[in-house]
Amino acid sequence: MSANPPNDHRTGRRAVLGGSAAVAAGLALTGMAGLTGCGSDGDGGDEPKGRKEGEKVTLTFWSWVPGIDKSVDLWNSRNPDVRIKLEKVSAVNGAQYAKMHASIKAGNPPDLGQIEYPVVPSFLLDNGLADLTKYGVRAQQGKFVGWQWQQSVFGEGVYAVPQASGPMGLFIRQDLFDRWEVEPPATWDDYAAAAKEIRRRDAWIETFSPTNGNRFAGLAWQAGASWFGTAGDAWTVSVDDEPTRKVADYWEALVRQKLVKTIPDRQNAWYKDIQTGAMTSWLGASWGDALLVGNAPRTAGKWRVVPMPQWKKGEAAYANWGGSTTAVFAHSRYPKDALAFAVWLNTDPESIKLLIEGGYGFPAAKGGYRTADLDVHKDFFGGQEYSSVFAEAGRGVDTSWKWGPAVDTLYQRLGDSFTEALAEGDSFRSVLKTVQRATVQDLKDKGLKVESG
C-alpha cells in the first residue's frame, strides 16, 4: 500500500462515487466489498500515518456553501504542500449526508466534510468522524464562540470545527406593518394579536410549516426545551417536555384559528407569498437575508429584522436554526493537515471575509470580523444594521442545548406527524407523544442505550 502514490487508489474510487449515480455506486461498491471480503467495516482501521516533511498531499473536501471555493483557492495559493480539492455536493433534501454516509460505509469518504450541527451525532454513530483532540484541537477552543464549540463535543472528544450558526430573528415587511398600524411583536402574545390584525387585512403573518422540523426545534429551544441529553451511558430523549408542549399548544391555537397558513416554507408557493406581500413576516435565521434578497428582489427596502418574540416581556431567550461545521472524517490519512485547514478556513480573517461575501451564515469564530461586515444586504433592509439583531440573538442562545443521534429521523417523524395531525385534526400534543415514543425506539433500533427523559 505504501508503495502507491498517496491518493491514487482512493481518488479513483471516489471519482466513481462523485458521479450522479453516487448512491447506486456506493451500494454497488459496498456490495462487492462485502462479497470479496476485502471491505473495511468503517471501524476506523489503522491509525493514520500522517504526512512526511515536505510531502505533497491533496485532501478532498465536500461542501455546498456558496463562495467557499474562494477561501479554498486562497488556502491553496498559500499552502502548496497541502492542496485542498473542493467537491461541491448537493444540499437538497439531505442528499449530501446520504452521500457521506454511503461513502463511509464504502470505506472511501473525503478527508473533510461540511456537516451541520444537528447531524454531527449521527456521523459519530457511524464512527465516521475523527476525534480531533488527538491532533491538538483543544488549543483552538478559545477562537470560537462557546456554545458553537460545544455542539461538536461529545464525552471527551471534539469531532468537528465549528464554522457558522444561524441565530434566529423575525423578518418583517415593515411597510405593511406600518400601513396597517401593527407593532412588530415583542412577545408571542403580541405575535398572535398581530396575526389576527394582519388576517383582517386579508394577508397572513406567517406559515406554520409542519414539515420544517429544524425551525420547530428552534422554537422549542427558545422556550427552554432540551430534547436530547445523556445520563451516564445512555441517551435521554425528551421531545415531549413542558416547554415543547407550550410551543405546540401555542401554534396549534394559531393554526386552528386560521391565523397562520400551513403551507411548507421555502418552496414555490411560499416564495410567491413573500414576493406579493401575502405573507408579511418570516421567523428565520441570520442566513435568511440572502434567501429573501434572492427570491423577493422587488420587495427591496421594505424589510426589517426584529428580535424573535419572547414568551415573557423583557426576556432575551433566542434560538438557533442551522449552522454547520467542518469535520474531518475518520478515514482521512492526514487528519492533522485536514484539521489545520479546517481551523484556518473558519478563523483566518481573509477566509472569513470571503465566506461572508458568499453568505455562509453567522461566523463561529470570535475574531476576524465585525458585525457590520455581515450587513451584506443592508439596502434590502432599508439601511438597517440588521446583523446586530442576530448578534444579540446569538448571545441569547441557550448554550446547554444538545443534539442527539438520528435528528434527521426525528425531523422526518415530526413532519409526518404534524401533517397527519393537520389533516386528521389531532392535537399537536399527540404529535409530541408520538414522536417521543418513536424516537426512543429509533435509538434503540440503532443499538443505543436510551431512556425517556
Binding site: L27, A98, D131, A269, D408, G415, K446
Partner: protein
C-alpha cells in the same frame, strides 16, 4: 457463456444476495453512549422484516401503490392502446411526428417531469389552478385526497407514449393479409381493431402491463420531488420512498434492505400472478389469433368471459 455468467453474477445476483444478507443483520454498538466504541454487525434473523411489517407507514405505502396501480395502469394502458390504434389507422401523413411527440415525455427524466408538473400543481403559481379557480372549481392538486392522482397523471403522461410505441411495434408485425381478408369480409375499421388488432397485440399488452405493475411498485421520483411542495406526502408515501428514507435519512441500511427485499417479493408475486392470470385465460384455447372475440377489454386484465 462464461462472460455472461460473470456479468450476470456480478451485476445481478451479487447485489440481490448482498441485500438479502444485509437484511438479516443489525448493528450493535459499544462504548460510552454508543460512540467511539466498536460497531459490530450481528445476526438479526427476521427481526428487520418484522420491524418493517410493523411500521404503519411502510404498510400504508403498499396499500397506496396498489390502489394507485389498480386505477392508473388500466387507464394508461387503455390510453396507450387507443393512441396506438388511432395512429396505426391514421393516414400516412404526420404519423411519424405524432408518434415521436407522444413518445417524447418518456425522454424526459422522471425527476424533471415531476418538477415540471410540480409547477403546474402549486397553487398561486400554476396557471392550471388559476384557470380552474376562475371558473369556480376550487381544486388543489396537492391536497391529501388528490395528490396520489396528480402523481398518476405525471406517470401516465410519461409512460403512455412509451407503451404506445411497444404496441405499435407489435401492430406493425401483423401480416397485411389478415387486414385484407377482413376487408373482403366487409369488416369496418372498428371491427378490424376489435377483432384482429387487439387480440393480436395481446402479448404486447401483457408485457406493458407487467412493466407498469413493476413500475408502480417502484414509484419513487414523483413523490420524492413533490414532497417538499406539500404537506400531503409523508416519508413513507411509497414503499420505495420508505426504504430510501430508512437507508439515507435514518441511516438504517439493514431495515432498508429488508424493506427493499419485501418490495421485490411483492413485485414478483404481483407480476407473476398477473402473468398466470392472463396465461390461463388466453392459453389453452390456442394462439392469439384464435382468441379473437374473447377479450374486448384486453387492458383491464380481467376481461369479460364470453365463451369459445
Amino acid at each position: 457463456m462464461l462472460p455472461f455468467l460473470a456479468l450476470f453474477g456480478l451485476c445481478f445476483l451479487a447485489p440481490i444476495v448482498y441485500a438479502v444478507y444485509q437484511s438479516l443483520l443489525r448493528v450493535e454498538r459499544t462504548g460510552p453512549l454508543g460512540l467511539g466504541g466498536e460497531t459490530k454487525e450481528v445476526w438479526a434473523g427476521l427481526s428487520n422484516y418484522a420491524h418493517a411489517l410493523q411500521d404503519d407507514r411502510f404498510t400504508a405505502g403498499f396499500v397506496r401503490v396498489l390502489i394507485f396501480g389498480a386505477v392508473q395502469i388500466p387507464v394508461m394502458i387503455a390510453l396507450a392502446t387507443a393512441l396506438a390504434l388511432l395512429l396505426d389507422s391514421a393516414s400516412a401523413r404526420w404519423v411519424g411526428f405524432f408518434r415521436t411527440s407522444f413518445f417524447l415525455p418518456y425522454g424526459v427524466p422522471g425527476v424533471i417531469a415531476s418538477i415540471l408538473w410540480g409547477f403546474l400543481y402549486v397553487p398561486g403559481i400554476s396557471p392550471l389552478v388559476e384557470m380552474a379557480h376562475s371558473v369556480g372549481w376550487d381544486v388543489d392538486f396537492l391536497d391529501r385526497s388528490t395528490v396520489l392522482w396528480s402523481i398518476a397523471n405525471i406517470v401516465t403522461w410519461q409512460f403512455a407514449g412509451y407503451n404506445m410505441l411497444v404496441l405499435i411495434a407489435q401492430l406493425k408485425a401483423v401480416p397485411e393479409d389478415l387486414y385484407e381478408a377482413a376487408k373482403i369480409d366487409g369488416a369496418n375499421a372498428w371491427q378490424v381493431a376489435r377483432h384482429i388488432k387487439l387480440p393480436l397485440i395481446r402479448p404486447a399488452l401483457v408485457l406493458t402491463t407487467v412493466f407498469s405493475i413493476i413500475g408502480t411498485l417502484q414509484l419513487f421520483a414523483e413523490p420524492m420531488v413533490l414532497r417538499p411542495l406539500t404537506n400531503s406526502i409523508d416519508s413513507g408515501y411509497t414503499p420505495n420512498l420508505a426504504a430510501y428514507n430508512e437507508a439515507f435519512t435514518s441511516n438504517n441500511q439493514h431495515i432498508a434492505a429488508a424493506e427493499a427485499v419485501l418490495l421485490a417479493l411483492v413485485a414478483c408475486v404481483l407480476s407473476f400472478g398477473f402473468l398466470r392470470l392472463v396465461g390461463q385465460r388466453g392459453g389453452p384455447e390456442g394462439g392469439a389469433g384464435r382468441a379473437s372475440g374473447r377479450r374486448g377489454g384486453a387492458p383491464r386484465g380481467g376481461g369479460e368471459e364470453s365463451g369459445p
